[in-house]
């Protein structure tokens, strides 16, 4: 990590007074570079891309060659993959960011430079967000190319929606990861907590809701509203809504959503996702600048 002080030199020796934007950009660039250099980033990218390709191959080998299309297994499989891999990636990346720096004494070192805690946090957030987007874009882009190459049906618009929404999901999970990271005392605890949160969001809440729906005979309105609490469900519903224009594939609750809110669903999903991105990040920034130990 000897490269660090050199990277921060522009901040320290800038002729103009260091501005917030410039500080954030510098930290972000460093964070992006560090991320790209880690094995974790490449491992995740490789896993995401290869699983995506496997999904595409399997669905194209079925009957995709005949040019029959629908919300086929490909899009469904990719949705599933994003739901599993992206939150895990983003949560662990976020959780280890501040905590590991603190553990290695880096935090004290960096904050000795003319940079505020909020700037540091935001810079790290932007940098890691960029790295995650690179990973998602590489993975989904590769799938798109392979499927087009094989002549399997795939809609370019669907792929672009999918990447964009996956990025939003990644940002939401990254925010949550940062919150964990600020709160946790050790980086191992942070990563452990992140994995627990991932398990809860990916499986726990949905399974609980399913059980609740059966046991309590929830009405579709309540079921829909409760499912919107989970950002993973928001991603799934939003991508289905954007790609299919109707949620009727999701049965009564989906039909209710489409009939009742129509195009307004974009706003609803956007608001939910926005809240999941903003709230943990703001909370993390507040906690980090107020009390967090170095």
């Amino acid at each position: 990590m000897t490269a660090l002080p050199i990277a921060l030199v522009p901040v320290v020796s800038a002729r103009r007074a260091p501005s917030t934007a410039r500080n954030i950009a510098t930290v972000a660039r460093r964070e992006l570079r560090d991320a790209v250099r880690t094995r974790w980033f490449w491992l995740y990218t490789l896993a995401f891309a290869s699983l995506g390709l496997a999904v595409s191959f399997v669905s194209a080998a079925g009957a995709g060659g005949a040019g029959l299309s629908g919300f086929g297994r490909t899009t469904a499989g990719l949705t599933n993959l994003v739901l599993l891999v992206v939150p895990l990636m983003a949560l662990t990346a976020g959780a280890s960011s501040i905590a590991s720096d603190r553990e290695r004494g880096m935090l004290a070192y960096i904050l000795a430079q003319p940079i505020t805690r909020t700037e540091l946090l935001l810079g790290k957030y932007v940098g890691l967000g960029g790295a995650l987007f690179g990973c998602i874009a590489l993975g989904i882009g590769a799938c798109s190319i392979i499927m087009a190459w094989m002549g399997a049906p795939s809609s370019p618009v669907a792929m672009l929606w999918m990447s964009g929404l996956a990025l939003l999901l990644a940002l939401a999970m990254l925010s949550l990861g940062f919150l964990i990271s600020v709160l946790a005392r050790r980086s191992s605890v942070a990563v452990g907590t992140a994995i627990f949160v991932w398990l809860t969001l990916a499986f726990g809440t949905d399974l609980a809701l399913m059980g609740g729906a059966i046991a309590l005979r929830l009405r579709v309105q309540s079921l829909l509203a409760l499912s919107l609490v989970n950002p993973l469900q928001v991603f799934k519903l939003w991508s289905l809504h954007a790609i299919e224009a109707s949620l009727d594939v999701l049965g009564p609750a989906g039909l209710y959503a489409t009939e009742e809110y129509g195009r307004g669903l974009h706003l609803i999903f956007g608001a939910c996702m926005g809240a999941w991105i903003a709230a943990p990040l703001v909370l993390a920034a507040l906690l980090f600048s107020r009390r967090s130990p170095l």
């Binding site: 299309s69 798109s144 009727d248």
Partner: protein
């Protein structure tokens, strides 16, 4: 009263003038008729076509030149009324437009537009109440009901384009309706934006090579027997083909695409009997095939063969009452639920294989070691999540989520809570039966390639940016 008399008189004189005027003009000058459609006829009781019809002898051929005719016609003698050029009959937004009350009438090549919107009176563009009519190559536009045949057996409805009014679906009329029209041929028509195309009490009808889209029912049979439905395409309707209380129906080589909505079916069968559904392409519907109480008498098993049923929310939906169907030699490809039963029930009274032949199931997990084209293991469908969905449809909300996979994994891993298999195919096919190709898939290929490349470049660019700030 007096004013009405005056108006009638004025209109009468005007009509007379319109009739005599061109005749005099034609004698004195010989300039060619204008190319653009001209307004003809007055708004009197008889328009120009009406007078031509009045003067025609039974059996005559009446040719109508291009133009816009604002009139309502009643054809009460057997004539052949044929448009030469773009002849437009405009109903002015009221009532029916063409009424055929004599047998053996031909109406060919007209554009008929702008009926009333009175659903009580069933305002129709063309209404036929006599046998052996030929309605051919007409274009119907902005109409409530399109072609309405009442007790008009042995008629021919061919090559028409029928487009409804942009009304709410409940306020539209039927694009095509046959009421007691035995042995009628319906061929090569396109019907869109209407309510239904519907056959009532009509035996021996042939419906061939039609297209229906953006309607409610693409084709609806009520109490109509011995009907042949071949080579049609019904897309984006609420329901593609729906049979009710009909016997002896052949549904062959049709394309049923993306018929969706709360009760969206590709093919629906309610208490139908002696039916055969073969070689159809059924793609992207809410339910590919919906079976309610069919076959009704079990006189002959319901036959489903060589259909390709793909990417529907459910390939087949059976109501628990359905028994006696034979589903053999079909392709069931990537339907979210391949076969489901609405509510609780089993499919044991229906067969999914016969002799040495079953169906091709895209979710079959076995293999074929002896290379006889048939999987070595039985195909049984018992996914826990589908079972839950069948019983509680609101759980469909959790489709495509990791939780769904978790439930299915549990169902596979713990036989104790595994549901009974819904059906069994003892001889699943390893390869699809002749797959039809759908045109139009190529167009998205370049787009996918470009968007994929753009994504990869964006990702690589970001990473390069990250790696590139090394100093």
């Amino acid at each position: 009263m007096a004013t009405r008399l005056v108006i009638t008189g004025v209109i009468g004189v005007a009509a007379l003038g319109a009739l005599i005027g061109p005749a005099i003009g034609a004698g004195s000058s010989d300039h060619a008729p204008p190319a653009a459609p001209i307004e003809r006829g007055a708004s009197g009781p008889l328009g120009e076509i009406g007078r031509r019809l009045r003067d025609a002898a039974p059996g005559a051929v009446v040719e109508i030149p291009a133009g816009v005719y604002r009139e309502h016609l009643r054809i009460d003698k057997p004539v052949r009324l044929i448009a030469v050029g773009a002849a437009i009959i405009d109903g002015g937004g009221s009532g029916d437009i063409v009424e055929i009350t004599a047998p053996d009438v031909t109406l060919k090549g007209f554009t008929v537009r702008n009926t009333g919107i009175d659903l009580d009176k069933e305002n129709a563009a063309i209404r036929v109440t006599a046998p052996r009519a030929t309605i051919e190559a007409n274009t119907l536009d902005d109409i409530l009901f399109g072609i309405d045949l009442r007790e008009a057996p042995d008629s021919r409805v061919t090559g028409n384009r029928i487009g409804g009014k942009p009304l709410d679906i409940a306020r539209r009329g039927d694009g095509l309706r046959l009421w007691r029209c035995d042995r009628t041929l319906v061929e090569g028509n396109t019907i869109h934006s209407g309510r239904d195309a519907i056959l009532w009490y009509s035996t021996g009808v042939v419906v061939r090579d039609n297209r229906g889209h953006d309607c409610r029912y693409g084709l609806h049979l009520m109490f109509s027997d011995e009907v042949t439905i071949i080579g049609n395409e019904f897309s984006r309707n609420s329901v593609g083909i729906y049979l009710m209380y009909s016997t002896g129906i052949e549904i062959v080589g049709n394309r049923l695409l993306r018929n969706r909505g709360p009760s969206g079916y590709g093919v629906g069968l309610k208490e139908a009997d002696r039916f055969s559904v073969r070689d159809n392409l059924i793609v992207g519907n809410r339910a590919g095939v919906y079976i309610d109480g069919s076959p009704f008498t079990e006189a002959r098993p319901g036959e489903f063969s060589a259909n390709t049923i793909a990417y529907n929310d459910a390939g087949f939906i059976f109501l628990p009452s359905a028994r006696g169907n034979e589903v053999v030699g079909n392709n069931l490809i990537d339907n979210i639920a391949q076969v489901s039963v609405s509510g609780r029930g089993s499919l044991e009274a229906n067969r999914f294989w016969k002799g040495e032949r079953g169906n091709f199931w895209s979710d079959y997990t076995g293999y074929d070691q002896d290379h006889d084209g048939v999987g070595d293991f039985v195909h049984e469908s018992y996914t826990l999540f589908e079972n839950l969905m069948d019983r509680r449809p609101s759980l469909r909300l959790f489709l495509f989520s990791p939780a769904q996979q978790a439930v299915e994994f549990v169902g596979r891993a713990l036989p104790a809570i595994r549901p009974e298999p819904l059906f069994t195919d003892e001889v699943p096919l390893m390869r699809p039966v002749a797959l039809p190709a759908l045109a139009g898939a190529r167009a998205t290929r370049v787009g996918s390639l470009l968007s994929g490349a753009a994504l990869v470049l964006a990702g690589a660019g970001l990473i390069a940016l990250g790696g590139g700030v090394r100093r």
